[in-house]
């Protein structure tokens, strides 16, 4: 595989071997850039608020505030802009660890970092200099605005057009699902490239919250992921012309190089975190002296079930580690090839299915009291509800439809 000529990780800390203390449970090569104490700090806050923000369906403001004050919000910002300069493995490790206790908080963090890296790799120097230092300081939480009514959920099309008006770009965009939109300080919005652009000519536009009015149009009372407050919104205002991220109308290139892989890698890290946390808590319960007296840990059925659950997670982990390496060493050409896209999509679909199945089986293992009740300390019930969103969070059906076409393009079946 060829290596990109322009290093997108310039200014970032290179991955290196970890000391055991710094080793994340996801065991990807986390760089030395992150202070593990800061991650523990955020995880502690995330754990404390997880039950309440889920039951009340409120955004985890305390967690976001701690991400701001620890500057972890600037994890993916290069040091040249005052950020931590973390790698993709760093982002995934932190997202994973937070998701072990609160998947909503983990996903909020992972998706913010996906937006940040998109800015780092594709924003104009002027825009990068204006926004990245503020993200590094913890001042800007970025929300993603890619959904739009009537386009069937396709990422690569847009209907509402961005219009030029003198020296400003006019934005008027409705989106049915904007995670954390009410708390965002900036938005990355997909829009059709002007009235003359086709639905496939999509531009990515950055809008600072001070440049637009961002009105929620409804609430978010969901089965799981309740704390993400993924509300419908209308965003209206005007932004400077430099706020187009990447080439006008060429959002697809951003998706191939950055946006798509990071979505799937970040989500997979979160889902695996939630399922991994659920398994860890369950094993701790099963191994506790009290519980040991109550059940037969030598039961073949129990052991087979535990084995299959762990197998599911190891499959996801292996795919994720491989896909991460492909992403890190890839360039626009290699990542745009059918085999790489198939891998990224397969990671997403597999993680969404296997992590949910693992938690479902854990509930079967521990039974009604520890598995099904909301006040069980294992929190399997919340993990199950949260993970049910995974297949819908960019629909698996839609990915399979794309993948089927890609399979036909890769007639030699060359694995990446």
């Amino acid at each position: 595989m060829s290596v990109t000529t322009v290093d997108p990780c310039q200014g970032m800390t290179p991955p290196n071997m970890m000391t055991p203390d710094a080793l994340s449970p996801v065991n990807l090569y986390r760089s030395a850039a992150i202070d593990p104490a800061l991650v523990r700090d955020v995880v502690t806050v995330a754990r404390e608020q997880a039950i309440r923000s889920d039951s009340d369906a409120v955004f985890p403001v305390t967690v976001l505030n701690r991400m701001r004050s620890t500057r972890l919000l600037g994890l993916a910002v290069p040091t040249a802009f005052g950020g931590i300069g973390g790698t993709v493995e760093d982002v995934m490790a932190v997202s994973h660890e937070i998701s072990r206790v609160c998947m909503a908080s983990g996903m909020i963090f992972a998706m913010h970092c996906q937006q940040v890296t998109t800015m780092v790799e594709h924003a104009s120097p002027e825009l990068a200099a204006r926004v990245l230092p503020r993200i590094a300081q913890g001042e800007v939480y970025l929300a993603s605005v890619t959904t739009e009514p009537g386009k069937g959920g396709y990422l690569l099309t847009a209907q509402a057009a961005v219009e030029r008006d003198g020296d400003r770009l006019l934005v008027n965009r409705m989106a049915p699902v904007v995670t954390g939109g009410e708390h965002a300080d900036g938005f990355l919005i997909t829009m059709r490239d002007g009235q003359d652009g086709t639905a496939n000519q999509v531009s990515l536009v950055y809008a600072d919250v001070s440049d637009v009015s961002a009105q929620p149009l409804g609430g978010w009372d969901s089965l799981g992921m309740r704390a993400t407050r993924s509300v419908p919104m209308r965003i209206v205002g005007s932004v400077p012309p430099e706020n187009i991220v990447g080439e006008p109308g060429k959002f697809r290139e951003i998706v191939v190089r950055t946006f798509g892989p990071l979505a799937h890698l970040g989500w997979a890290a979160c889902w695996l975190g939630t399922a991994g946390g659920a398994l860890a808590r369950t094993v701790m319960l099963l191994r506790s002296p009290q519980e040991r007296k109550r059940r037969d840990l030598s039961s073949d059925l129990l052991r087979t079930r535990l084995s299959k659950i762990r197998q599911r997670l190891d499959v996801v982990h292996a795919m994720m580690a491989h896909a991460t390496a492909v992403y890190r060493t890839g360039d626009t050409t290699t990542l745009g090839a059918p085999n790489a896209q198939l891998l990224m999509n397969a990671l997403k679909v597999t993680a969404s299915e296997q992590c949910l199945a693992a938690v479902d089986e854990l509930i079967e293992v521990v039974g009604m009291r520890h598995g099904y009740l909301k006040d069980s300390s294992l929190a399997l019930e919340r993990a199950l509800r949260d993970l049910r969103s995974a297949a819908l969070n960019y629909s698996n059906d839609r990915l399979h439809a794309v993948d089927g076409a890609l399979v036909l393009l890769d007639s030699e079946v060359r694995f990446v």
Binding site: P20, R287, P289, R292, L297, S298
Partner: protein, 84 residues
């Protein structure tokens, strides 16, 4: 290694003759311990001593000999003492 340790261990070592004493260098696998039973030995030891052997010690090295397992138990008890 104390007397209790031998008592706890013995039922899990089917190839250990009833009249033979255990020594530090005895290989647990040779005496019949396999990885399926290691978890039972672990629970028995943890119950007997009220100490938890940490995950990173649950490896082949710890379960290699009577002495290495006893060492892990002693370490765990010591850590528990310090933690109190």
């Amino acid at each position: 290694m104390d007397e209790k340790f031998t008592t706890v261990l013995r039922p899990h070592l089917p190839f250990l003759p009833a009249d033979r004493q255990l020594s530090d260098s005895d290989a647990l696998r040779d005496l019949g311990l396999n990885s399926m039973q290691a978890i039972e030995v672990l629970f028995a030891v943890e119950d007997a001593y009220g100490a938890v052997i940490p995950d990173d010690k649950l490896n082949d090295e710890t379960f290699a000999t009577v002495g290495s397992l006893w060492q892990a138990v002693e370490d765990a008890m010591q850590r528990q003492e310090v933690g109190r």
